[in-house]
């Protein structure tokens, strides 16, 4: 799973760079900071969610979705909006 996830993230990162060049949109340093923070939290959530299910800890697994998963999605959404609005 982690191999596939790594490949997917690599493709998305390459696509992002390709898109920014094509649309002549510059990526700011804080885009990277917020994006990487969001991505790290998302990966942390994915690992802990599935591992908690395997551990037989259902409440913990849902709490990870809420406590780290939701902020991760919000941070990634912020980056997406920053880029989308800058590109207009």
């Amino acid at each position: 799973m982690w191999l596939l996830l790594g490949i997917l993230i690599g493709i998305i990162a390459l696509g992002l760079v390709w898109w920014s060049k094509k649309s002549n949109t510059s990526l700011q340093w804080y885009d990277w900071v917020i994006g990487l923070a969001g991505l790290s939290m998302l990966l942390f959530t994915v690992q802990n969610y599935f591992a908690s299910v395997a551990e037989g800890e259902p409440k913990a697994s849902y709490m990870f979705l809420l406590v780290t998963g939701l902020p991760a999605v919000i941070l990634l959404a912020v980056v997406w909006q920053l880029l989308a609005r800058r590109a207009k």
Binding site: F44, Q47, N48, A51, G56, E57, K59, A60, M63
Partner: protein, 514 residues
């Protein structure tokens, strides 16, 4: 036509491709598809394994090697190579003469190997081989304070052997033979080499891990004055330990070393807190330790040393408080409940035992992983205790408070000299018995989690680095639902596929890709 080198035509290739595609499609259609984890967990299993789709089941009594049930008849097992006919092993083979020749060949190989220190046949290799076997005598005959002298002929007769006919047979079917049996001197190694060797042997015998300490002037004070049945434990100026049944256990007054042994228990079973399934996990560690103890004693005998273990008088109790040497050897740190301790690898749910030996060993140091500091803040175990036997204090104390069960009585059940959170042992014992083996404190502890989720490593690293987040982490543990399992879920244990013995034997294994 040459079957090993053929030219495939384009038509055949395309046909093959089509067949392969159809096969893949059929396999995909036939493969089990699970919509959620519950469905996957309840899927039919073959022999307990959840096998991949490419392992297919056949009809009953029809394995892949063909069987003609018309030809099959009941057979006589004494005609097989291990069979004994007319009192002779290998009776099939010309009244055993051929067998005896092979036995001599095997014995010569072993004796020469030990004498010449050949790989696989060194003294310690043979001691390992013998150490793995002595339980063939039956636990009740061999598990004791010191390894009993065993009648080799009695055991060998079970297998149709005699010691005279197969000289080295007793070295691996009875117990490890001592060095003089092989005509060599005892094993000599540095304390570091000995520790390394003993760890490998004892993990193989079933110990989850071992660590070592020296029995010096300080740690000698940990040896009980009396065993649990009130039998005195004394030091005498002798070379070997011995027991006078019911009167005394004698330890040799010479350099000795402590082997601290950890035996993992099932974390899941402990999360039930009390009753039969929880108690089963506790009981099993004693059975496992019996095996580890006698195998270790046998191994030590095989390399020319002695192992001093738990006596048959009570196989539950040794010569010293095993938790003390678990802490001193760095297995674990003291917990808020001073009746157990917390290990970075095993958490709370692990049993410790002590074996003494005269094999020089390199001592291990105590550790600081932040656990005892964490226990200053966390009171999860104290809140779960049904008899309120665990202290709620913020700081540990030197003084032992009186028991709530009988405040006027002297606290002889505990010993001064340690600054801990003193648990009210009589109160604890009342619920240990009254609730059929209560261990809710160990089951609910923040550190009795499984370790697959990476958050546990993050928490442990944080706890080991700073105490600033201890309160937050204790509350987070509760919010995330870790801890005891409610009674209505206890019987679900029967339908889960937990590891063998409820243990993760890969902990501490850094080689082999397990």
């Amino acid at each position: 036509m040459n079957k090993f080198h053929s030219i495939v035509s384009r038509r055949d290739f395309m046909k093959g491709l089509g067949l392969a595609g159809a096969g893949l499609g059929a396999a995909a259609a036939a493969a089990p598809v699970f919509h959620d984890l519950d469905e996957a967990a309840s899927a039919p299993v073959a022999g307990g394994f959840r096998r991949p789709w490419w392992v297919k089941e056949r009809e009953y009594e029809d394995p892949t090697c063909e069987v003609d049930w018309n030809q099959i008849e009941r057979s006589d097992n004494s005609w097989t190579m291990h069979g004994v006919r007319n009192g002779v092993k290998g009776g099939y083979l010309f009244a055993g003469q051929k067998y005896l020749d092979w036995q001599k060949e095997g014995s010569d190989l072993a004796f020469n190997g030990v004498k010449n220190n050949e790989p696989g046949l060194t003294l310690r290799d043979m001691a390992l081989e013998g150490g793995a076997s002595p339980l063939l005598m039956g636990l009740n005959k061999v598990v004791n304070f010191v390894l009993p002298e065993i009648d080799q002929n009695e055991v060998l007769a079970q297998f149709g052997f005699t010691a005279a006919a197969w000289p080295n047979a007793s070295s691996f079917w009875v117990a490890s033979a001592p060095p003089d049996f092989w005509g060599v001197s005892k094993w000599q190694g540095t304390p570091e080499e000995n520790s390394r060797m003993l760890r490998s042997a004892m993990r193989f015998f079933g110990a989850s891990e071992v660590r070592f300490a020296e029995l010096n002037e300080k740690t000698k004070k940990l040896i009980f004055t009396h065993h649990v049945h009130n039998t005195p434990i004394v030091f005498e100026d002798v070379d070997r330990a011995y027991e006078v049944a019911g009167q005394k256990f004698v330890l040799p007054d010479k350099p000795l070393y402590i082997i601290s042994v950890a035996i993992q228990m099932s974390k899941e079973m402990y999360r039930q807190g009390n009753a039969g399934i929880r108690f089963a996990a506790n009981n099993m560690r004693y059975r496992l330790n019996n095996v580890v103890q006698v195998a270790t004693q046998s191994f030590l005998k095989g390399i020319g040393y002695q192992g001093i273990g738990y006596p048959s008088e009570s196989l539950f109790h040794g010569m010293m408080p095993s938790q003390a040497d678990a802490i001193l050897t760095g297995f674990a740190e003291m917990a808020r409940n001073n009746n157990y301790c917390i290990s970075p690898e095993f958490g709370t749910v692990v049993g410790y035992y002590s074996i003494l030996t005269d094999l020089p060993l390199a001592p291990d140091k105590p550790i600081d992983a932040g656990y005892f500091r964490f226990c200053h803040t966390c009171r999860k175990c104290a809140e779960a205790c049904p008899s309120q036997a665990i202290s709620f204090d913020s700081e540990p104390t030197w003084e032992i408070p009186p028991s709530s069960v009988d405040p006027a009585k002297e606290t002889k059940y505990s010993t001064p000299g340690k600054k801990v959170f003193h648990t009210d042992s009589p109160a604890c014992y009342s619920r240990w018995i009254g609730l059929h083996g209560c261990a809710r404190c160990m089951g609910t502890c923040v550190f009795n989690t499984n370790m697959k989720a990476m958050v546990h490593d993050v928490v442990r690293a944080t706890v080991g680095t700073t105490g600033l987040f201890n309160g937050f982490l204790w509350n987070a543990d509760k919010a995330f639902g870790y801890g005891l399992v409610p009674p209505e879920k206890w019987e679900e244990w029967w339908d889960k596929d937990y590891p063998v013995l409820g243990q993760d034997s890969t902990i501490g294994s850094y080689y082999g890709g397990y």
